[in-house]
Subunit: 341 residues, 4 copies
């Protein structure tokens, strides 16, 4: 049993981490840090944890040494506190955007402010098991990618890494409302957000910088909020290099993901779930990936779906922890999702 | 053409009033008062009015004399400002809870504060055309009922006024999220409110006092927020007096509502819309009413559905205006609702 | 490891049983019987089971002896096949309505046809652990109650069994669309069913007979389909016996459910989840129960919520299996539910 | 008053035509043809028309001469019946796909069957007022475009016609469930379709052929069903020609749509409705169009939203009728949409 702390435990990613870690057989969750609710019961904020835990939120100052600290904080807050958590924890797994971009200049462009812990940027290993599993086995600083970026990276990586597509691609991301967090505001008022198809980022979404970094291409992203609470779907429109046909695409996906415990290829001829669909992934750690080829036009469409709080956040972080600790990679992450839902 | 003012025009009831009044052939909307957004374009807050109006919100102080003032304010605010609006407008149509209960003592019990305009309570005519049409023809002070109350009153009135039911009844109300207003808060965050079945008032809902008043019975209400933006449905469970059978119930409803332009009886044997269903009433001013009788048990179930911003608020207020002005009662209110939706 | 068979495995209850049983550490799922899809992959029908199973559906004739057979069939079908399954399985757990009502006469009234296996009616133990745990420990024929009935029974049992309420009560049930099953029809077309508040049974719902049986009172039920896929909420309106106050109600609930692993009391003063709310129970086996008392009126409102495919069906059936086998009652049923969702 | 007939009146487009035509001051709706429901009340199928009409459905054979026939039939059916309707009606307005593509060869590729009325293909004027208003003034055969195509055409036309974009573009369309029609099937079962992000056409959607035709470019479309009943949103990803900047884009849109009664430019800096959003267009005939430019990348993103049954179907057809008859173009189409909804 290792001792873990969740910092930012009152948010949605924080709550999902608590749910997973409380149910994890090798982990003891020793502290749930919340600057807003110290002293309050965790299940008062996360009602699904009623009867699962009697934990109270605490302040950061209450936390002593631990094995692993998960930072589920607002963007910019993690880099400001990072030294404190490195001092107290053997491993720090950051779920903010602070250490996702390898370049402080790119960070400034996409986040609009200076990076305040540039000395650590290179020390963080990207929390993408499918790309960095070996490095993660010994990583003590892990930066978990954004939900939409995770989907985008997995949607195109097998093609990009093999040089089968042209080096620019467009990503069309759709997200549920939980990605906006647990803080109420005019934008996520139910009567306004319900049934929406809100193009909140026609150009310049932050996650395109992550995708570009990991795929080595120029990614352009358009992001739309659609009716869902959990769930992300990213469509990638790419151009195939000459002479790349459907079977080459299929082969690339199969080779790449054959042994991945949490990536499933979904591209069927029939049925209502022919391509990746977020709703059957709610609560699960899978990222489903599919594709279609228009050979005549040399055009490739790939589709990835995941639960933004799971494979797009907390679940992926726990997968990284499992890798780091040498445990079975699926430990505590075996929930298969529900149907119908 | 009369000149009207909407006070509290940035809220949902206010916006619906603006939509109806801008499209009303006998009305000129001269001012949209908002304490939050003076100077801002109305269609910046109510995006459905883009290209329909260039009106700007103004302050209450900017309003001079007018024919009719609609008060779509927060509860307790209308009674505090009422003298000002009576001084400026020939008619005042209040959509708050302030003048709905005929008794300041009942008001205190249900609203938890003192009534500050008790001298006017008796002067307000309830804005229920189906019960008070004659009084409304000459009323200069009109108090429009709450949405759930309106449904509850229309659901049982034909039976209650004929003495066909026992003098206690239970009301089970379900409401969409727009009834909570346009101000964001933790309770109406999309991710929390979406898909909810939230029992927010198991006992003691304010509207039970209105229903009791208008029906002359002891009403007990349980209210639940369900997944919808617009829409209210109130189920009434009543006990039939001895010897009252199905045909007596049917006769009571038919007699009562035969000539009502905005009440339809909906109690069919077949189809997916056998009983009143709010979703096909979105945007319309109808209140659909249905019923079922368990003769063996002497039990009556009645069902009423409406759009809370229309027949449960703004639409009903305009219907009252039409009556007061001697115009056709359906003027500006003829939108039939949509299907499917 | 015991060997189990799911009959009617292509339906929603059948799919949920498969999900739970495939993940159950003491169970081997040897057959998934479907008369519609023999030979087809299970995960072609239940896409959430992709990568969880390679099982194919089979015909009933393909099934040989097993330890336990779960019957997730259409109503009336189970009693027609029951002898076959008793001959092949040591235990039969029936999830249809066929053996829920102890009286063939009541069955005829509520289901409109003759019972064809009356000799077995008394042999079935109701699958309600909270009422019949001891009998279930040795039961070889178990009849799992209907989803709405389960909620209704748990909502009022503590009061009814102690004689604290009058012997008639009204139940207002709200259900999601999955309760209508996996067969498409005009009634559950998305554009028609979406956002509905459909009163499909104003009086005479079948489950009121079950509730009446288990509570020993005269239950009257009104049932409404609301916007949700999974989820049932049952509100009970009851009248307190003289001198029964809030603390007596609280005591009854606490005593009754203190040690129940899957019943949680939820009646809080604050927050957005003060009373039982189905959405946070999606995928979990909890039934949350709450209450409110209007002491002045002598009126009691109780509220129960559950996932109709879990505690209202498959989950409850597995709980019964765990009891019968002497395993920990929560085995394979520990998923706590999600928030937000 | 002209006499009109709706053929295929029991479908969703047919019902919307009836709603509009019944409320239209210059039109008498003389027949609602349905092969499925002859003799049945129209409001039994379209419950929103209760109290608006007592019309019964009739058979095609019951229809005598009329002024205008609207064909809201299944694809392929209109071309099979077209001679009959031309013989009986002065104008035929077809809402199927049969006469949308100017080329029988393209028709075969996208619809998979032979065109059986090729002699008429050239005689139909596309029902796109924004492109073909002058021709529509005297057209007796009008072919109303598909909903997603209408959005796609309006999204890019101002740029394409001015040669400001490269001649290939990608369209990402999202649609509600009503676009699939009123016939129940496994694909539009509520529990399956609810909350979906279903990529039903990753490549090769039929409407891309229409867009290509009207814009003179090579359009590639990916189509996804999202959670909504009504509503279409089409995102267009295009590449700007060299030296085309934001102001040139803005100018093109403003010039093109300045006087269009049903196209609004929506591209704001602030608020929750900055870009076109279908939900506030439910029931209205507007197509909102917006855009964003990434000047550095030379990339243009345009967004169009509409109600698929209105500007994407029935409303657009009535707009064409108004133009053909020389009536005010907005006659009977002035409903502004609702907010919140």
């Amino acid at each position: 049993m290792i001792r873990v702390v969740v910092v930012g435990a009152a948010g949605y990613i924080g709550g999902e981490l608590l749910r997973l870690l409380i149910g994890h057989p090798e982990v003891e969750t020793v502290a749930a840090v919340s600057s807003r609710f110290p002293g309050r019961r965790v299940d008062g904020v996360h009602p699904n944890l009623r009867s699962a835990t009697d934990l109270l939120f605490c302040s950061a100052d209450d936390v002593e040494e631990c094995d692993t600290a998960f930072l589920a904080l607002p963007h910019r807050t993690a880099m400001a506190q990072i030294d404190r958590w490195i001092a107290r924890a053997k491993q720090v797994i950051d779920l903010t955007g602070d250490f996702r971009l390898g370049d402080p200049e790119v960070y400034r462009r996409y986040y609009g402010s200076e990076h305040v812990a540039t000395h650590l940027i290179d020390a963080f290993v990207p929390g993408i098991p499918e790309l960095h599993r070996e490095s993660l086995r010994s990583a003590d600083l892990i930066s978990v990618p954004g939900c939409v970026a995770m989907a985008g990276v997995l949607a195109l990586y097998p093609l990009a890494v093999r040089g089968l597509v042209e080096p620019t691609a467009q990503f069309d991301a759709r997200t549920g409302s939980s990605g906006s967090g647990a803080t109420a505001g005019a934008a996520n008022l139910h009567s306004v957000r319900s049934g929406a198809m809100r193009v909140f980022a026609p150009t310049g979404h932050r996650h395109e910088a992550e995708i570009s970094r990991h795929l080595g291409i120029a990614a352009a992203m358009t992001a739309t909020g659609v009716e869902a609470v959990r769930g992300v779907q990213t469509i990638c429109h790419a151009t195939l290099r000459p002479d790349v046909d459907t079977s080459a695409v299929r082969r690339a996906f199969r080779e790449q993901y054959r042994n991945e415990p949490f990536v499933r290829l979904v591209a069927h001829q029939r049925g209502n779930f022919r391509y990746p669909e977020p709703k059957i992934l709610v609560g699960s750690n899978f990222c489903d990936v599919g594709y279609a080829v228009d050979e005549e036009a040399g055009r490739l469409v790939t589709i990835a779906a995941l639960d933004n709080l799971m494979k797009g956040g907390a679940g992926n972080a726990v997968q990284c922890l499992n890798i780091r600790m040498g445990w079975p990679e699926t430990l505590g992450l075996s929930f298969p999702g529900l149907h119908p839902i």
